[in-house]
């Protein structure tokens, strides 16, 4: 039962990992804009060392309006032993409720909520609700999120938080004109909670290569407590 719940939070976390499909952290959510009709697609692969498994998550963001975005996410897990198949299918709605822009800086807050539908008949659907904040100044971006997932049934609830810091390594200074590619370092602290288990805190360290319409991402995720799992992350995002 405990391993089942632990697996539930693992599936839950990868379901919501894919939200930040445009410039933001590796696993944190982000409150940056997506233009009306704009589409961002993301594919992220996370390979864990214990238990040995790979999860592939596909995410699509669609800009409804300047301040409203829809997010759809589908993870697929491939375990060495046990259940293969799709995890929670997630549909989220994000709305910016606060925005303050300055030259080369921004502060934004968004509310996020939606429905997570399990493909496993032993689990119940969940309603999720939370807050996302993004602060950018000079060469640093900070993303914060906290989300609660309430089960519509007897299976357990879930929750998560993330604090992410991305720092632009290159270029040290932008050119006068033109949109350059850039390298960013990423450090994140996150927590994943599944009812009946302790909150597992995780440290993620990685890098982003940011092109105007592509982002390549890589990182290592280390549990700071609990299962003591080390995972490797590889992903790609495309802005259409």
């Amino acid at each position: 039962m405990r391993s089942h719940r632990a697996f539930t939070w693992l599936v839950a976390l990868v379901c919501l990992v894919g939200d930040s499909a445009h410039a933001g952290g590796l696993r944190s959510l982000v409150a940056l804009p997506l233009e009306p009709g704009g589409i961002v697609a993301r594919l992220q692969i996370i390979g864990a060392s214990s238990p040995d498994n790979i999860t592939v998550t596909g995410t699509v963001l669609y800009g409804l309006t300047t301040r409203q975005t829809l997010i759809f996410s589908v993870p697929y897990r491939d375990l060495e032993r046990g259940d293969d198949g799709f995890g929670y299918l997630t549909g989220l709605y994000r709305r910016t409720v606060y925005q303050h822009d300055e030259p080369n800086a921004t502060r934004r807050i968004a509310v996020i909520g939606g429905l997570r539908v399990p493909t496993d008949s032993d689990l119940d659907p969940q309603i999720s609700a939370g807050l996302v904040a993004t602060v950018y100044r000079q060469r640093s971006e900070w993303d914060f999120d906290v989300v609660w997932m309430e089960a519509l049934g007897r299976s357990g609830n879930n929750a998560r938080y993330d604090v992410s810091w991305q720092y632009r390594l290159t270029p040290s200074e932008y050119p006068e004109w033109g949109i350059p590619t850039e390298w960013q370092s990423v450090i994140e602290l996150g927590g994943r909670y599944a009812e009946g288990t302790e909150m597992v805190h995780q440290l993620t360290v990685g890098a982003l290569w940011v092109h105007p319409s592509w982002v390549l991402e890589t990182g290592i995720i280390q549990d700071l407590n609990g299962p003591d799992t080390t995972s490797f992350l590889l992903g790609i995002r495309k802005h259409f």
Binding site: H22, A23, L32, P33, L34, E35, P36, G38, T66, R67, Q99, D101, E102, P103, N104, A105, T106, Y136, E141, R168, E173, Y174, P175, E176, W177, G178, I179, P180, T181, E182, V210, H211, P212, S213, W214, V215, R237, H239
Partner: protein, 99 residues
């Protein structure tokens, strides 16, 4: 030598005539924070029928638009495109040569 001089004068005058009708506008834009974020803004500004070229400056938080010959565009139209892309527009200036 005389022919070379005439050709040089011809090209000089041609360049002056081409540049004379080309309007260049700059618009201040706040909230631009990274390449991936401003990709759509550059694309949307470039889709305006009056615009020949768009340059974005993340360094100076502005965009420079070179309009097609004889074209004009309303400052409010530019500000609306910036707002739709999710950023905050500021002053619009005509920085054309001779303006």
């Amino acid at each position: 030598m005389r022919q070379l001089f005439i050709v040089a004068v011809f090209f000089f005058l041609s360049a002056a005539v081409v540049g004379a009708d080309e309007t260049v506008l700059e618009i201040d834009i706040n909230g631009m924070t990274c390449p991936f974020c401003v990709y759509s803004l550059e694309r949307e500004l470039g889709r305006l029928s009056e615009v020949k070229q768009v340059l974005i400056s993340l360094r100076s938080s502005k965009a420079r638009l070179t309009l097609k010959e004889g074209a004009h565009i309303d400052a409010d139209t530019l500000r609306e495109v910036v707002l739709e892309a999710g950023f905050t527009p500021g002053e619009v200036r005509d920085v054309s040569e001779g303006s």
